[in-house]
């Protein structure tokens, strides 16, 4: 387990990697210490990104990424004793994402495809080496990645692509299911083949 270089108070428990995997899904959680100007810059960046869907088109197209979320942590919530009160000297960026596939391929996609986006999100973090070359960027993420204490997936055997395919298949199967009862065998064969043709990307 490792934490951000100056994030002394932020710790997590659990074995890295194993605790970040549940079935097909992998979680990644990264804390990075943000420079003073990031405190002003990042909320603006988050706002612009949220209001301009075009900026996030590419990440949405990367189907193996379930979601990616960046947020700014300026204080540690206090939940009462025995938790010690902690004060953050610097703001921290909290990045969380879930994905399918390999960790390396996931970071590769961020580096090679979302290069400028990575620079925008992490540029204000201490030690960020740029998104390319990917070697130092991977080392940076590894250095700042923390293991989850608990990670849960509702459908551990399925990936997000599979869940979406199953929903699509269900939509395409439903009309046939409704109309099949009164069909003659020939008509059913034709309707079934049509359904297969329409739904083949989800089979």
């Amino acid at each position: 387990m490792s934490t951000a270089p100056s994030a002394g108070p932020i710790t997590a428990t659990g074995t890295p990697s194993e605790r970040n995997i549940d079935g097909q899904a992998i979680a990644i959680t990264v804390f990075s210490t943000v420079k003073w100007w990031g405190r002003a810059f990042l909320p603006v960046l988050f706002n612009v990104t949220k209001r301009t869907p075009k900026l996030t088109t590419t990440i949405v197209q990367l189907s193996f990424i379930h979601f990616a979320r960046w947020s700014l942590v300026t204080k540690i919530p206090y939940n009462g004793a025995p938790q010690p009160k902690q004060r953050l000297r610097y703001p921290h960026m909290y990045f969380e994402s879930n994905f399918n596939g390999g960790w390396e391929e996931y970071i590769d996609a961020f580096s090679h495809i979302l290069t400028s986006g990575m620079a925008a999100f992490w540029g204000s973090s201490y030690g960020f080496p740029k998104a390319l070359p990917v070697g130092p960027f991977k080392a940076y993420i590894k250095e700042n990645e923390i293991a989850n204490s608990h990670y849960y997936s509702a459908y551990p055997e399925a990936t997000i692509t599979m869940v979406k395919a199953a929903l699509d298949l269900d939509d395409k199967l439903a009309p046939l299911r409704r109309s099949a009862k009164g069909m003659q065998p020939d008509a059913f064969a034709r309707a079934y083949e049509k359904m297969l043709t329409d739904a083949q990307r989800s089979l």
């Binding site: 097909q24 189907s63 390999g102 996609a109 090679h112 070697g135 297969l196 043709t197 990307r201 089979l203």
Partner: protein, 461 residues
């Protein structure tokens, strides 16, 4: 044609990596040697090999009758006296070895290392000697010399040897032309860029940086780095001009493959089993790609011609011509995953496989003979290149939108994977028993020529 801006020190690189020796060499033997003697004694024998090692330098006096190349496992480096500290500078997957990574590679069930052939995957393989020969007689002589040198040295034992020979027409046992589609490497094979390099937006192709395949050179990540940093490599002098090698013995059940295709084809397009099998592979038997010739092979197709592999998948995004899960589309998706190949270009390998065993003639019943393919690949990173392809593309279908479906040609050792052949309507191949089974394998390192000398001298640091 080589890119003059990139200079690769071919004298320091072993042969058959960036450029194949070619099909004139139709006999190849792979001998895995175990070192049972002290490192000094083993190094004396190792030193004697160096004069015979074939480098990548162009041959001025014609092709030699035989070639010799040397690779070592992590255990082999230690047996030759390389310090633990230096061995620790090699990649984790190399140090762990192929059998330790069986689960992630899909080597389970019938391909489990517990059932591998003796001498492979059990830590006893230390040095791999690869001998190529143009004639059977030269082949026998070279093997004799190899054994004599080992006997003279003492404390050495061949724990596994696989003899292979090309099949007629450079086909593999299922009948397909194999091994002619290779990555184009900057400074070595730039002329192969169309279809072999990275697909660019303007329709052109770019050869891959040499560091994708040879250590000590910029790779695709560092080629434009103003700091000129080099990719990770073992500690010098071993890091220069070396490469990682994957060696696998893959048994092919030819009779089962033919039966499965023939049975399935009874329900497919008037029993066209050749077309059905081509759909599984992504090429016709002569190598014609389905994406350009979906209905029948191109009679003029020449696998060795310039541009023979110059095709993309973006015009066939629904897989109607070449199925989304076909073998060649999975193993090298080119632009199929979008983003101008940005999700694929770091996962390329140079392959130098050879078939072993006698062919099963058409129409002959199953003779249960041992036959298949020795799969050999060279890459700078076993995990990023070989393992990623094996895990993410061949043993999983998610990235292609194919759920848990695995590569149907290589098969699923658990016998659970189906294949969808896109069409109107689509056709489904039911799960089948594995037609390809892993019989053993090793992760190796192919040192550069100066690195071989350093190992022999015991000066690896």
């Amino acid at each position: 044609m080589a890119d003059a801006r990139v200079h690769i020190d071919l004298r320091d690189l072993q042969g058959d990596i960036l450029r194949a020796y070619g099909n004139d060499y139709d006999h190849t033997s792979y001998a895995f040697v175990k070192i049972t003697c002290p490192p000094e004694q083993a190094r004396a024998w190792f030193s004697g090999l160096l004069d015979h090692v074939t480098t990548a330098e162009p041959w001025k006096d014609g092709k030699p009758v035989t070639t010799l190349n040397v690779a070592v496992t992590a255990a082999g480096l230690k047996a030759l006296g390389v310090s633990d500290e230096v061995v620790a500078s090699f990649s984790a997957e190399f140090r762990e070895g192929m059998s330790s990574r069986a689960e992630r590679l899909g080597d389970t069930g019938v391909s489990d290392p517990g059932a591998w052939e003796r001498g492979l995957g059990d830590g006893s393989a230390h040095v791999l000697l690869t001998i190529n020969a143009q004639e059977a007689e030269d082949h026998r002589r070279a093997l004799g010399l190899m054994r004599a040198a080992m006997d003279d040295a003492g404390g050495l034992e061949i724990v596994f040897q696989q003899d292979t020979a090309l099949l007629t027409g450079a086909r593999e046992h299922f009948g397909y032309a194999d091994g002619f589609a290779q990555p184009a490497v900057q400074g070595a094979s730039d002329d192969k860029a169309p279809g072999g390099g990275v697909p660019e937006e303007d329709g052109r192709w770019r050869a891959l940086a040499p560091g994708e395949f040879v250590l000590g050179y910029p790779d695709e990540d560092t080629r434009d780095d103003p700091k000129r940093t080099l990719p990770n490599a073992p500690a010098d002098p071993l890091g220069k001009s070396g490469t990682y090698m994957v060696w696998r013995k893959l048994y092919q059940d030819v009779a089962l493959w033919r039966r499965v295709m023939a049975d399935a084809a009874e329900l497919y397009q008037a029993g066209d089993e050749h077309k059905l099998a081509a759909k599984v592979v992504g090429r016709w038997t002569d190598g014609t790609p389905l994406v350009t010739h979906p209905d029948k092979p191109d009679p003029d197709f020449d696998a060795t011609a310039r541009g023979a592999n110059d095709f993309r998948y973006s015009s066939d995004s629904d897989g109607m011509r070449c199925p989304l899960g076909s073998h060649i589309r999975r193993s090298n998706p080119r632009d199929a995953l979008g983003f101008q190949g940005a999700l694929t270009f770091r996962h390329r390998m140079i392959r130098r496989g050879m078939p072993y065993g006698d062919p099963l003639p058409d129409g002959k019943p199953d003779d249960r003979a041992d036959r298949g393919l020795v799969f050999v690949s060279f890459q700078a990173s076993i995990s990023r290149q070989f393992e990623a392809v094996q895990m993410q593309w061949l043993n999983d279908g998610n990235i292609f939108g194919l759920g848990h479906d695995k590569d149907f040609l290589l098969g699923d050792p658990e016998g659970t994977g189906k294949m969808t052949i896109q069409g109107r309507p689509p056709f489904f191949l039911a799960p089948m028993e594995a037609v390809v089974k892993t019989r053993g394998g090793e992760y190796l390192f192919v040192p550069g020529v100066s690195a071989l000398a350093a190992i022999a001298d015991g000066t690896t640091g």
